[in-house]
């Protein structure tokens, strides 16, 4: 109930703002946008673009979780490696999307690889740092117990390190799924050949502002839904493993 009230409030403020600004070129009214949205959803082109964006997003998510966890794990266990890699990861984290663009354009021109690489590089550092921090924060008491009983390294890795990173993998997925769509859309906008981001860039070319907003709504809706579903799926998986 409260969600509906919240949404209505949002639409109402949108209407008011749009009337205040007075130009549908700057902010179209909810009705205009809704009309454009219906128009967009009816097109097969939109559906193809949506699929293109979706598979790229999930690919990036998979790569980020996989490589981020791996690298983060190694960095968390070994302090020397952590100190060596930290500046590199920090720099990668700080580079803005635009700067990757030039590199990516030169490697592959327009296509799917560019958006995937750009999004991957944007999200990987957080995954690495989250996992590394998690590993380093492993219960010192457990590690002490391990030392007292002189448990072999293989067992320690399997039972303690791998087990302890589960909450951090979950955290990585939660953070990444929220951000991946935004980054994918931007990079598609800049150098993609297919996808919702590309459609938005074309809509911009024809100054079709309601279309830009309509496509944005589609992207936002998908983002929220995928986030909810992924979180629920991940929670169920970890509950099976006994991590609450």
């Amino acid at each position: 109930m409260k969600t509906i009230v919240g949404l209505l409030l949002f639409v109402l403020s949108w209407e008011i703002l749009s009337l205040l600004l007075g130009s549908s070129f700057i902010l179209p009214t909810p009705v205009e946008t809704f009309k454009a949205l219906i128009h967009e959803l009816a097109k097969i082109e939109t559906f193809h673009a949506f699929l293109s964006t979706a598979w790229k997003g999930f690919l990036v998510l998979g790569l980020v979780v996989l490589l981020g966890t791996l690298i983060g794990l190694v960095m968390g266990i070994n302090t020397t490696i952590y100190e060596i890699l930290r500046p590199v990861v920090t720099i990668v984290q700080a580079v803005p999307v635009i700067s990757w663009l030039a590199l990516v354009m030169f490697l592959w021109g327009i296509g799917w690889k560019g958006p995937v690489l750009i999004s991957f590089l944007s999200l990987l550092p957080v995954s690495i740092f989250t996992t590394a921090a998690g590993v380093r924060s492993i219960d010192k008491d457990l590690l002490e117990m391990v030392k007292v009983y002189k448990v072999p390294k293989r067992k320690v890795f399997k039972d303690i390190y791998l087990g302890s990173i589960v909450p951090f993998v979950v955290a990585t997925i939660d953070i990444s799924i929220g951000n991946v769509w935004k980054v994918i859309l931007v990079s598609e906008f800049l150098c993609g050949d297919k996808g919702l981001g590309v459609l938005i860039s074309w809509a911009r070319q024809y100054v079709d502002v309601p279309r830009v907003y309509a496509l944005t709504i589609i992207a936002v809706a998908f983002g929220i839904i995928s986030e909810r579903l992924t979180k629920r799926f991940v929670r169920r998986l970890t509950r099976k493993w006994g991590m609450s």
Partner: protein, 308 residues
């Protein structure tokens, strides 16, 4: 003495009250207005020129009524009109600008040469040269997207990719065409204006950009509009007569090297044609665009679009 002062004050007051803003795109289209900004031509009105870098900026200036006159691509102006904006076309001044450039190790004699290959064009689906290119391909039995891959990118990126040999075919506006062809790396294989003219049985030119204002302004201040058009026309003529000087003056706006710009001007044609003398051509052009890609041109502007 007092009379001189009062005349001066009146003119000053007039020009302050009547300071008119014209917005112009960044790019070679700056050259035809540089005579105004640098004071090489003068008119009865003081014209303040502002540069816009992307369509959103232009629209914001128009929508917020900061701009009185707007230099825009014809397609953009038409789209805005169709979406209900109060805008009217006074005349067209940019006529030739689109060409195909082909890498030195490739040949192009007709569209079939592109089968199995890819061609890059600027910005996005539905741009003028994109629509024309697809039309011309289809006419020759080549299916766009299936037989030929068409890719979109910012023109600067296309130049970079072309020069590094990553792409072989590009359909671009000047001066990007010249930038690609520099140093013999590429050759100009097709003049889109000529092909368009041949197909339509009209002179080989495309209405690319022009001067717009609002119908409201036109109704309220017809004399001012006349004066501005005259000033604008003179500025374009001055450029054509004093190209070298104009290019030097443009240096502070553009960072394209002057010799490149000069070379590109061989293929870029600026001359002002009042709308009453080219309405038919413009209408034909917009009609064809709507026919070929209604997504990009959702309708055909009626006579309200053209200033009378």
């Amino acid at each position: 003495m007092r009379r001189l002062l009062s005349v001066f004050l009146v003119i000053l007051g007039f020009s302050i009250v009547f300071s008119i803003t014209l917005i112009n795109p960044l790019g070679p289209a700056v050259i035809p207005v540089v005579a105004i900004t640098e004071g090489k031509v003068k008119g009865a009105v003081h014209l303040n020129v502002e540069i816009w870098k992307n369509p959103e900026e232009a629209i914001a200036m128009i929508a917020s009524k900061k701009a009185d006159f707007y230099v825009l691509p014809i397609t953009v102006g038409a789209n805005l009109y169709l979406k209900g904006m109060d805008i009217v076309l006074l005349g067209v001044h940019e006529w030739n600008v689109f060409y195909m450039v082909v890498s030195e190790d490739e040949t192009f004699s007709n569209w079939k040469d592109l089968v199995g290959k890819e061609i890059y064009t600027a910005h996005g689906r539905g741009q003028t040269v994109d629509v024309l290119m697809r039309y011309l391909m289809t006419e020759e039995g080549v299916i766009p997207d299936k037989d030929v891959r068409i890719l979109y990118a910012p023109p600067q990126e296309i130049v970079a990719l072309f020069k590094s040999g990553k792409i072989k075919f590009a359909a671009l506006p000047e001066p990007f065409v010249t930038l690609c062809a520099l140093g013999g790396k590429g050759k100009i294989a097709l003049d889109f204006q000529k092909v368009w003219g041949d197909k339509m049985g009209i002179p080989p030119r495309l209405p690319i950009a022009g001067l717009f204002t609002s119908r409201r302004f036109l109704k309220e201040y017809p004399m001012v509009v006349e004066k501005v058009v005259e000033l604008f026309k003179n500025s374009v003529e001055w450029m054509n007569k004093n190209l070298d000087e104009a290019l030097i003056l443009t240096k502070k706006f553009l960072n394209i090297p002057t010799p490149v710009l000069k070379e590109s001007m061989k293929r870029t044609k600026f001359y002002y044609v009042d709308i009453k003398d080219c309405e038919g051509e413009v209408a034909l052009f917009l009609k064809k665009l709507n026919e070929l890609y209604p997504e990009g041109m959702p309708g055909v502007p009626d006579e309200g679009f053209y200033a009378r």
